[in-house]
């Protein structure tokens, strides 16, 4: 077995990055990361206070793992294969077979078991995407989209990462592109992606998802000083900041990445109104950054003298109001 002629490109987010890199390998150079992210309707927000992740309320800016790749390839009518496995041995054999057939393979993995990543990021996070594009002397060649360069990993480490336990469990999940159509309906896919994302953000009738969850977090954050010890409140804030800004969102909890998608779409569809939407979302993204900056100051201050929890709640409320208006108008666009 050897190394495929694969071009690694660094991206902001693991799943849109893997999707773009796999499609570009098939000759679809026009699929950039922002396009993959937007067509895959990757923008989301959820805050689920009763679902504790290492003791802090679950907060996420991304949609369900695997959904971007699935939506992009379905929307562009690309023939793919996805598989889960019962044992690591079967999963590794299947990977070797795909590589032997000359295809790079995407996989879900746990960050904790990827020794090539800096320790600073290696928590038990089980929804990281990466690509294997070769095996030389028993060692796999890895394209991890969050890294500038390619990496390598031992088979036993990769097997551990693919069969990590916890929530979610990757169960060896592997995916690759089988065939691409001669002609892509990029315009249609962009429109469907925007529609889908507006639906995901605006319509969940539950308080924990989409816009509702931003308002929920805005309410909850005001009560932190009364309901939590100072230490807990700091950890809760820290977790929100990490979900929003730590590796993998491209800044402002994916808002800049989505704005980049709208900007690229405005050129592909030749629609200036999308350019305006992109600018608006950039401004909203800057507000998210301002929120994270203020939350970090509150977190470090250890006294409520700089930015109060009420002010943080106000910031989120303002963001929620703007995003609700933004996606309501985006949803009403006539194509």
């Amino acid at each position: 077995m050897s190394r495929l002629n694969f071009q690694h490109q660094q991206h902001a987010h693991c799943e849109s990055g893997v999707t773009a890199n796999l499609l570009r390998h098939e000759g679809l150079q026009q699929i950039t990361e922002p396009l993959a992210f937007g067509i895959g309707a990757g923008l989301f927000f959820a805050h689920i206070p009763f679902l504790k992740v290492s003791g802090t309320p679950g907060t996420t800016f991304r949609s369900l793992p695997g959904s971007i790749f699935k939506r992009v390839t379905k929307s562009l009518d690309i023939d793919v294969q996805t598989q889960r496995f019962s044992t690591p041995a079967k999963a590794m054999t299947a990977l070797d077979n795909v590589l032997d057939s000359g295809k790079p393979a995407g996989m879900l993995s746990s960050v904790y078991y990827l020794p090539y990543l800096p320790e600073a990021f290696r928590f038990h996070f089980n929804a990281h995407n990466l690509i294997a594009f070769g095996k030389e002397n028993g060692i796999y060649n890895i394209s991890d989209p969050v890294l500038e360069d390619v990496a390598t990993i031992l088979p036993e480490d990769l097997a551990k990462a693919r069969f990590a336990k916890g929530t979610p469990e990757p169960k060896g999940f592997m995916y690759y592109v089988k065939n691409v159509p001669a002609k892509l309906d990029l315009e249609g896919a962009i429109q469907r992606g925007i529609k889908k994302n507006c639906f995901l953000i605006l319509s969940p009738p539950l308080p924990w998802f989409g816009i509702n969850a931003i308002f929920l977090l805005s309410k909850k954050i005001r009560k932190y000083p009364q309901q939590l010890t100072e230490r807990k409140a700091q950890l809760y804030l820290g977790n929100i900041i990490r979900m929003q800004e730590e590796i993998g969102t491209g800044g402002a909890g994916f808002r800049f990445l989505y704005a980049a998608f709208l900007q690229e779409s405005s050129e592909i569809l030749k629609r200036d109104d999308l350019k305006g939407f992109a600018q608006e979302l950039t401004a909203i993204g800057d507000e998210w950054r301002n929120f994270a900056y203020s939350a970090a100051r509150q977190m470090k201050a250890r006294k409520t003298d700089l930015v109060s929890f009420d002010q943080l709640g106000d910031m989120l409320h303002s963001i929620g109001t703007k995003e609700k208006d933004f996606f309501t108008r985006l949803n009403k666009l006539k194509w």
């Binding site: 660094q10 991206h11 902001a12 990361e33 922002p34 290492s54 904790y112 990543l117 800096p118 320790e119 600073a120 990021f121 928590f123 038990h124 969050v146 890294l147 500038e148 336990k165 916890g166 700091q234 950890l235 804030l237 820290g238 977790n239 900041i241 990490r242 800004e245 730590e246 590796i247 993998g248 491209g250 800044g251 402002a252 800049f256 990445l257 704005a259 980049a260 900007q263 690229e264 992109a278 600018q279 950039t282 993204g285 800057d286 950054r289 994270a292 900056y293 939350a295 970090a296 977190m299 470090k300």
Partner: protein
């Protein structure tokens, strides 16, 4: 965020400076472009705080193991950033069984095969596991 506003605050702990992540920012012509960032103070502080919390809890547990209040399983579980539920899944036991194994009196009577199971999950040897804190 404009290109010239992309923060470059080094993440100088736990090899964090080895990654210059990609973020999206607006250039002088108003166009989005990918820019490498060494890190951002706000985000670095949050990451550092999460690790500090791990270190504090670990030091606390280490003292308890040395005082004979907890078994080494409690220490290595935290060292591997796991909680009881996750560790239970890895060793194929129930959470309450793992809790029992954290009592020194129960730990001292564990089968060799179960100790090997724990040691392999923690990526250490059985000797390292049983001799910790002694």
């Amino acid at each position: 965020m404009n290109v010239n506003e992309v923060p470059q605050d080094a993440r100088d702990f736990r090899d964090g400076d080895k990654v210059r992540k990609l973020v999206y920012a607006v250039d002088k012509d108003g166009k989005y472009t990918g820019v490498n960032s060494a890190g951002w103070e706000a985000e670095n502080e949050a990451t550092r705080q999460a690790w500090d919390a791990v270190d504090e809890a670990l030091a606390d547990t280490e003292a308890k193991v040395k005082a004979g209040q907890l078994s080494p399983i409690a220490y290595y579980m935290q060292k591997c950033l796991m909680d009881k539920a996750l560790l239970a899944k890895y060793v194929g036991k129930w959470g309450w069984q793992v809790s029992r194994h954290m009592k020194p009196s129960v730990f001292n009577k564990l089968d060799r095969s179960l100790l090997e199971k724990y040691a392999s999950v923690f990526n250490i040897t059985v000797d390292e596991l049983i001799s910790f804190g002694k």
